[in-house]
Amino acid sequence: MPKQPTKKVLQELHLTMVRIRCFEDTAGRLMEEAKIPGALHLYVGEEAIASGVMQNLSNEDQITSTHRGHGHLVAKGGDFSKMYAELYGRSTGYCRGKGGSMHVSNMELGMLGANGIVGGGPPIAMGAAFANKFLKTKKVAVAFFGDGASNEGSFHEAVNMAALYKLPCIFVCENNGYGEYTPQAKHQTIVDVADRAGGYGIPGVVVDGMDVIAVYEAAREAIDRARKGAGPTLLECKTYRFYDHVGVRGMGMTYRTDEELEKWKKRDPIQSFEAELIKLGVMTQKQIDKVYSKVNDLVEGGVQFAEDSPFPEPSELLEDVYCVKGA
């Protein structure tokens, strides 16, 4: 049996989840109020995955994210001000306003980008892991992707190559049971995406994605394995998104039942973890409340920063297309 995470780790896991939840709740509201342009894919309900995995990574380690990428960047240490500014399309954003929600990124934090292309991340993470091995660093690269993305050819090619070269690469499938509005059973015959691991001769692990400790432990094992040079793991986390595919209420489509949603909401990764924390005596309700109020202050500050920030200048349009030597 693995040793119980320390109190510090438990508190950090909690903080990360709360940070994601609060960031996303406000982002969703702002989108539905049309203050944030474009489309947001919110991570609410899935916080345990990014939090549990990222707890094992340093800023040096890389991740590739998805269209549903805010949670990953928050968990990687993303600054709310720069994130909201990016969602607002302001020049102070992480991408100077050029990327927006679907491309928010920060190389200093090892976040190689949210990605608007389903399946876009795995080949890039595999490539980063290749560099890590080539350059003899001890870094690992983690590719997050959805159940839907596991049907893209890019996933297949990336996992095969990572396995072949024994790269320090972890493939984390966030299986929320749907690709957009299509349930898993209508896009693949298997129940566990992890079953695909066998086709590449790597371990496939299924874990409860609503249980942050379970994710943390499983990710630690996979990451340790990768760092030791033993190659990739396909780690599948079963989860659910509490909001719609896009935004909070989305387009009002009826592809999921209320019962199903309610059933999963009862397993809210944050609420259940908080109950556990209190039971274990790691945190009191008061301390928990304080976490929220601190985080909500950061949210408010971040939104304010974004709204106060300037839009990019027209001259910025043609910047950053190429790297100009000496510039």
Binding site: K98, G99, A149, L317
Partner: protein
């Protein structure tokens, strides 16, 4: 839409998105071996609602939700059309064509030729193009020239609800692979659309505004910007003719060249990146065939040389519009 056709319409108005749905529906009613396949085309009715109601009407045997597997989806179109179906394939955004370009360039476009005419692929591909919705670099592109450069496929870009419906029907009746590239910013655009089936010939441009002193050749949504520009310019005494190219492969050189011969001035406008876009092809054809008629270089307007930016303020500058067209025409004519 010609004047004759307009008369038959009797004022039935639909949005562009509803016209798409209606076009697809007519095809499904007409051709029992046709079906729609793509991501979330079924129960969800397509990410833009462009297939809404079809799942209920035709059932899951004919409106087929696919995995997120663009290579598979286009392969499904190629293989099933070779084997007796007339599939309508949805590639959600043209940006995603990168995922299935092999199936398009090396299989769909070339199979008939490589087989010495031994196979026929009556497959229609629908996909959304265009910027203007803050969807950033991977969901806003206009990559039509890739396809137009590809012998073996046809490429149409309807700008109106009328053309959207008619083009889909015509494409589906065509025995060749036809891409119908739809513009996502135009989905709410309203226009007259007749009931029942009708065709919009593939390979013919349409003069959508008559004029005598300047020809604007526009692609897809830019037609509307060009028409707006023409109104502004008419106040300045410039009588602009606007041509909706409608089809970029095959391309209706004659209609364009004849107009230029009349007006002696031309400007080509599209939303795609200017460098390497279809505009260069059109300009090259014009100068080749109407060289002696030109009083000035044929201008081009396309997107600047960058990916599509997310920030609305940048995207607004990025996408060509009526103002830019007006400015360019004035510059060409030396008006202040």
């Amino acid at each position: 839409m010609s004047e004759a056709q307009k008369e038959n319409v009797e004022g039935r108005v639909l949005t562009y998105v509803d016209a798409i749905t209606e076009g697809v529906r007519e095809v499904l009613l007409e051709q029992s071996n046709s079906f729609v396949a793509g991501e979330d085309v079924g129960l969800a009715g397509g990410p833009f609602g462009q297939y809404s109601g079809l799942f209920a009407e035709f059932g899951e045997d004919r409106i087929i939700d696919t995995p997120i597997s663009e290579k598979g989806i286009v392969g499904l179109g190629v293989g099933s059309s070779a084997a007796g179906c007339r599939p309508i394939i949805d590639v959600m955004f043209v940006d995603f064509m990168g995922e299935c370009m092999d199936e398009i360039v090396n299989q769909m476009a070339k199979m008939r030729y490589m087989f010495g005419g031994g196979v026929t692929l009556p497959v229609t591909v629908l996909s959304m193009t265009g910027a203007g919705m803050s969807m950033a670099a991977q969901h806003s592109q206009s990559l039509e020239v890739w396809l137009a450069h590809l012998p073996g496929v046809k490429v149409v870009m309807p700008s109106t609800p009328y053309d959207a419906k008619g083009s889909i029907i015509t494409a589906a009746r065509d025995d060749n692979p036809v891409f119908v590239l739809l513009n996502k910013v135009s989905l709410g655009l309203k226009g007259e659309v007749p009931e029942g089936t009708y065709e919009v010939e593939i390979g013919t441009a349409e003069v959508v505004r008559q004029g005598t002193s300047f020809t604007i050749v526009a692609v897809s949504r830019m037609v509307h910007e060009a028409l707006q520009a023409a109104e502004i310019l008419s106040e300045l005494g410039v009588d602009v003719e606007v041509i909706d190219v409608r089809s970029i492969q095959p391309f209706d050189t004659d209609t364009v060249v004849n107009s230029i011969k009349k007006t002696h001035h031309g400007l080509v406008v599209h939303e795609a990146v200017e460098f390497g876009g279809i505009g260069g092809e059109i300009v090259a054809q014009i100068q080749d065939q109407a060289f002696d008629y030109l009083d000035a270089p044929v201008g081009r307007i396309g997107a600047p040389f960058s990916p599509v930016p997310f920030s609305p303020v940048l995207e607004k500058i990025y996408v060509p519009d009526a103002d830019l067209i007006v400015a360019k025409v004035k510059e060409t004519l030396g008006l202040s």
